[in-house]
């Protein structure tokens, strides 16, 4: 008997089985999803008003503002990078659009497009600087965190947004609802679906995950990791800008502190949603789930009439429990 005979037997016809892959993808989001369902049920069963349209809508809206940006962060985390400047980009684009529409009477749609372009430019600046200095994104964005927040001050002059043409279809369309869901929520869902596809099924997504999985090998394989990183940062900038512009369409006003602290919320959503920090994978739908979890907790505090002084404590504990259970589930899954 030849030595290969057995091996061939073992080899078996390698059936076209994504089974395992699908399973692992599902598992990644399973923990967070269960967490979200649990939180929603706990609040909803005890306080049925939680299921009222307005509360659901406002939760969806809050979560979407965060999730849209978190989608970009997922790409960066999958490359083991972190962008701290998204809160600033969000604020700059929010204000820039408002100033153009208000003080300069630019057409709202044009103003929105300019703001989106500015977001892409700020993301690109992060990327160009990181590539030029050959440093991780977090280092560059420690600087641009300050820089972009400063731009909000400069653009706003420290003042609240000017009076806006809120009757424009820009505000009624993008700030409104469609089929009973806030338009920003539709954006989050559609962009989330597209970016899930991009992450899992396109060459860009694979390159992103490859760089995060083994940077050295990526270099060896000729992946233009600098360019991939630049694109991921431009995408993140675009998403932060989009979130800012859509926020403006709904809020119709704002003050210079808008977007402060958003960077941590956004990273939290991505991580609570199951994206690991070790790179190589990232869950786009998870980021939406994570954002919804955080939004639901905020509502929960209200419905359970948690003493305001204890609000943060309860929030912290719920997050701990959520990430703890997700971590344990993942570990359990890995074992079997």
């Amino acid at each position: 008997m030849s030595p290969t005979a057995d091996a061939a037997k073992v080899a078996a016809p390698s059936a076209p089985q994504d089974g395992r892959w699908r399973r692992s993808v599902r598992l990644q989001e399973l923990g967070p999803l269960l967490g979200l369902v649990a939180i929603v049920l706990v609040i909803g069963v005890t306080h049925s008003r939680f299921f009222s349209d307005t509360v659901i809508m406002s939760n969806v809206r809050t979560a979407s503002v965060v999730a849209i940006i978190a989608f970009g962060i997922v790409f960066l985390l999958a490359m083991t990078e972190i962008d701290l400047s998204v809160g600033g980009i969000y604020g700059v684009c929010f204000y820039l659009a408002a100033k153009l529409m208000g003080d300069s009477s630019v057409d709202p749609y044009l103003a929105a497009v300019i703001a989106l372009a500015a977001g892409v430019a700020m993301g690109a600046f992060n990327g160009v600087a990181a590539n030029a200095f050959r440093v991780p994104v977090i280092i560059v964005t420690l600087g641009t965190f300050s820089l972009y927040r400063g731009l909000v001050s400069v653009i706003s002059g420290g003042e609240a947004t000017p009076t806006l043409p809120v009757d424009s279809s820009f505000f009624t369309t993008f700030g409104g609802d469609w089929l009973g869901i806030p338009v920003i929520g539709w954006f989050a869902v559609v962009i989330g679906a597209v970016l899930t596809f991009v992450m899992q099924k396109t060459r860009f997504g694979v390159m992103v995950r490859a760089v995060g999985s083994n940077r050295e090998a990526a270099r060896f394989s000729g992946i233009p990791s600098g360019r991939v990183r630049l694109y991921a940062l431009m995408l993140t900038g675009l998403l932060a800008a989009l979130s800012g512009v859509l926020s403006l369409a709904y809020f119709e006003a704002g003050d210079p502190s808008i977007g402060r602290g958003l960077e941590l919320n956004v990273i939290a959503a991505a991580i609570i949603g199951g994206t690991s920090l070790s790179g190589g994978t990232g869950s786009v739908p998870g980021a939406l789930i994570g954002a919804l979890i955080v939004a639901a907790i905020t509502s929960g505090l209200v419905f359970f009439k948690v003493d305001p002084l204890w609000g943060d404590v309860v929030t912290g504990i719920v997050i701990l429990v959520a990430v703890g259970i997700a971590g344990l589930l993942r570990r359990q899954a890995a074992r079997t």
């Binding site: 001050s153 808008i258 977007g259 402060r260 919320n265 505090l301 609000g311």
Partner: protein, 365 residues
């Protein structure tokens, strides 16, 4: 003459300037012979409220023509950065110092240093009066600004009156505690609640925490609260982001006919008053505090008399459909701001004695 304690200034870098100014006092009476003075001003925060104060201060500088004002501001009140800025500004030997020590503790040491290093302890706290709080071992003797408690009271009173609520009204009052622990905001809430209890004894007050910066999170909390309290009759929140959320809810029609009490309304709030979605609000006009503070510091530095000790009340101003256009216009440009607020400021400066009260009166009682 000199300030009351001017005589015992000790030898510091600032002293020479102080003694020169004391020596030149008699000359500094006419416009033409106006002496140059160096003043310093540190702001804790860059939000519309403090920016308005800054504009007031800058107008005073522009009008005077001989004031050099070194002005610095931290981007957010953490205590650490603004204190470092103050300590650094102190090295330049300013002849007067304007502070808004919103995170007071961080300031206590630097205020003590100002006592010896700024000639005649020519230091005024504006907008954040804590440095002059009773019980604090603070050397600051003058506070310029509005009473936060009183402004809260007035905002609620205006809303109650406009909505014609009374002792028979039942339901809940929604009062957010945004950035709890920040004294000027807490006092506004305390003032509002005091009036609510007095005027609406059958209304239950519901407290909750809102996010001071994250507008969408703030709105989400307000949405949940409004939903959770269908019997709400009146709402109040001390932060700009609360104003934004309440106004958004009103504009989108999800807050029904809840009466809204706005305090220091932002542009969005003014628009809501203009459109009638909100019946009115109360402004503390921080512009005036900035203007008055610089004016008083300059006068003291020139030896034209120290600022009176105590609380110089810059007043609270109702904003209603009658005068909304002026306020909206003022929000448009610094010049329009000056046009609206400068006459008010000069009125206060014209009757300093009448507008000065014991410091304790600026606190809730």
């Amino acid at each position: 003459g000199c300030g009351s304690s001017g005589g015992d200034s000790t030898a510091t870098s600032g002293t020479s300037a102080a003694s020169t100014s004391a020596a030149g006092t008699s000359a500094a009476t006419t416009e033409a012979a106006k002496k140059d003075v160096n003043l310093a001003m540190v702001m804790s925060f860059q939000i519309p409220y403090f920016i308005a104060a800054q504009h007031g201060a800058e107008k005073a500088v522009a009008d005077d023509g001989a004031i050099k004002l070194a002005l610095q501001a931290a981007e957010a009140p953490t205590g650490v950065k603004e204190v470092q800025m103050a300590e650094n500004l102190l090295v330049d030997g300013p002849q007067g110092f304007a502070v808004n020590p919103c995170v007071l503790p961080a300031w206590s040491k630097v205020l003590k240093r100002m006592e010896t290093e700024v000639p005649d302890n020519n230091v005024i706290a504006f907008s954040c009066k804590q440095a002059a709080a009773p019980g604090q071992t603070s050397p600051v003797r003058t506070f310029v600004g509005a009473s936060d408690a009183k402004s809260g009271e007035e905002a609620i009173t205006l809303a109650i009156d406009k909505a014609k609520l009374d002792a028979s009204t039942k339901g809940t009052a929604l009062v957010s505690e945004c950035a709890k622990g920040t004294p000027i905001l807490d006092e506004r809430v305390a003032g509002a609640e005091k009036v609510l209890k007095q005027r609406l004894p059958n209304v239950k007050i519901v407290n909750f925490t809102t996010d001071p910066a994250d507008a969408s999170k703030n709105l989400s909390t307000w949405s949940s609260v409004v939903q959770d309290n269908p019997d709400a009759v009146i709402a109040f929140g001390p932060c700009d982001s609360d104003t934004g959320s309440i106004v958004t809810l009103k504009n989108k029609g999800s807050a029904g006919d809840v009466a809204v009490a706005l305090l220091d309304p932002t542009e969005a709030g003014l628009q809501a008053i203009k459109s009638g979605k909100v019946t009115g609000g109360v402004s503390t006009a921080p512009w005036i505090a900035g203007f008055v503070t610089i004016d008083l510091l300059a006068k003291a530095a020139r030896g034209e008399g120290a600022a009176p000790e105590g609380w110089i009340d810059t007043g609270t101003y109702p904003v209603t459909e009658q005068n909304i256009d002026e306020y909206l216009q003022a929000a448009g440009s610094p010049d329009a701001q000056s046009a609206l607020f400068q006459p008010m400021a000069e009125k206060i400066l014209g009757d300093l004695q009448g507008n000065t009260h014991p410091l304790d009166d600026s606190f809730p009682n």
